[in-house]
Amino acid sequence: MSHAQDLVRFDGVTCRYHSEAVLRGVDLSIEAGAMMGVVGPSGAGKTTLLRTILGSVRPVLGSLRRRDGLRLAYVPQVETVNWSFPVTVGECVLMGRTDGRLLPWASRGERAEAQAVLERLDIGGLAGRHIRELSGGQQQRVFLARALLRSPDLLLLDEPTAGVDARIRHELLHLLGELNREGLTILLTTHDLNGIATHMPSLVCLNRHVVAVGPPVDVLTPATLEQTFGASMDVLVHHGVCIVVDRPHDVALPLPGHVHVLEEAIA
């Protein structure tokens, strides 16, 4: 197997936070042109995996290799953003050019590039607005625009659909799919199995270690889900798309049809 196409490669990577292993012996390669979703329960190490790629968390064991000159861009969780910070959409997006020239104001070329990215994401007319004055979907696009202005090879998104509604989720998926087809490699974390994960070309099931890697139809099985989430789930296939459902006997609330059965049982 050739690794020439790998943008990032984990070899037995273990990371610790305060002596607790958050990632254990992770082997993973992210190939150029891939679009991968990382799924797993809270505390599975999804964000740590991203931070390891970014370099803000260092492995204590194993090695992490990034392709030489790899350009990374990161879209943080919308909930971690300081929305009262005095910054306009234009100013925020131009942070993507922090490694540009020394002068504070943007050059004509930089302004044109920023405007082109904003228009691409359908928020072209909002450059002068404060970031708080936008809708949820627009806010997300501002941070995506900031990342894209870096012209990255690899785009990392941390829980991009946390706290957004179904329509915004669809639009985002569509947009990411488009960017991926144009050659951008994408890695995102999500806890949304049916909204996001099942639509990804490739998935990583993570629970401190890599449980499985592959297309959703291959990795989303009751056995892997049990190993990843520690809960019993069933997988249905509908129009070629997997749908993950909780197994009925694990659901605490009785379904309407079961009510009289319960009543009889009590009597």
């Binding site: 931070r51 970014l54 370099g55 803000s56 990374l72 861009a73 990161y74 943080p76 971690t80 953003v81 300081n82 910070f85 005095p86 910054v87 306009t88 100013e91 925020c92 131009l94 942070m95 993507g96 050019r97 922090t98 490694d99 540009g100 020394l102 002068l103 504070p104 104001w105 404060h130 870096r150």
Partner: protein, 281 residues
């Protein structure tokens, strides 16, 4: 009336004091934007108190106050920065320990060896007396240096202030940027202490930024506004200081507070009017 207002301008000490107060106000306003947006107001407050220890020590040892208190201030700034980067100790607690101990040491040194008098009072509350041309030039040099740093490091400073984690991930050397900011803050406090006073310099840093924030949502405009407001407070406060015969620190801070009340009131009224305005489809 006008003659009376212009009367102090015939004195060289007043003209020097006025220049120093205006530059000091503008410098504090500029640096204050970062202090306020990074939630470092308490660090600014603590640092000014820490520098008082260095001020006392250098005054008693007979070394240049600027150099003695400067070394002390930079050491405190780096110590605070180092301690706050370590997460096991609460940043506010660490700052409280380092700076208050330093302030207490300054008070103790003055009590044991000093003559509580002019310099002690001036250090605490600010004074326009004895501002020499050299003082004006020194402050102007510091202000130019700080402005140059903020100008040429504008992009990394903005990214680090807004979102340090993503800035770091995007290749900004945030630790270096933060250390640079602490250096600028320490130099600002040190060089403006004479006019503003240890106990009041923190307010001069915070107020212009807070007022500017209420007037704009743009970071670049906030920097310009805070600088202008700070400078204006220094200018007005110094004139008031002379005529009211009150130390310069309090009058400059009170001018800033008046700005705050006016802008706060105006923006509250504006918000109330907007809520009342009928919705036009």
């Amino acid at each position: 009336m006008i003659e009376e207002l212009l009367q102090p301008y015939q004195f060289e000490f007043f003209r020097n004091g006025l220049a120093v107060a205006t530059i000091a106000g503008a410098l504090c306003g500029l640096v204050g934007v970062y202090v306020v947006q990074r939630g470092m107001s308490y660090i600014g407050h603590g640092l000014s108190h820490a520098i008082f220890g260095g001020f006392a020590a250098s005054a008693l040892l007979g070394v240049s106050v600027f150099i003695g208190a400067g070394i002390w201030g930079i050491a405190s700034a780096l110590a605070i920065n180092g301690v706050t980067r370590r997460r096991t100790i609460g940043a506010d607690a660490a700052i409280g320990v380092i700076t208050t101990a330093s302030f207490a040491l300054g008070l103790a040194l003055f009590a044991i060896f000093g003559r509580a008098g002019q310099s002690f009072d001036a250090a605490l509350f600010g004074s326009i007396l004895g501002v020499s041309t050299t003082d004006v030039l020194t402050l102007a040099a510091v202000a130019t240096f700080a402005a140059a740093i903020i100008f040429f490091q504008y992009r990394p400073l903005l990214f680090t202030t807004f979102d340090p984690e993503v800035a770091e991930a995007s290749g900004v050397r945030t630790a270096r940027v933060e250390a640079l900011l602490m250096l600028v803050l320490a130099l600002t406090i040190l060089s403006t202490m004479q006019v503003l006073g240890v106990t009041l310099v923190a307010a001069s840093i915070v107020i212009p930024a807070v007022v500017a924030r209420m007037l704009t949502d743009s970071f670049a405009r906030m920097l310009l506004l805070a600088t202008a407001i700070g400078g204006t407070c220094g200018l007005i406060g110094m004139n008031v200081s002379y005529h009211a015969n009150v130390q310069s620190g309090p009058t400059i801070v009170l001018t800033g507070a008046a700005f705050f009340v006016a802008v706060f009131g105006w923006s509250s009224v504006r918000a109330a009017l907007r809520r009342r305005a009928p919705v036009v489809a």
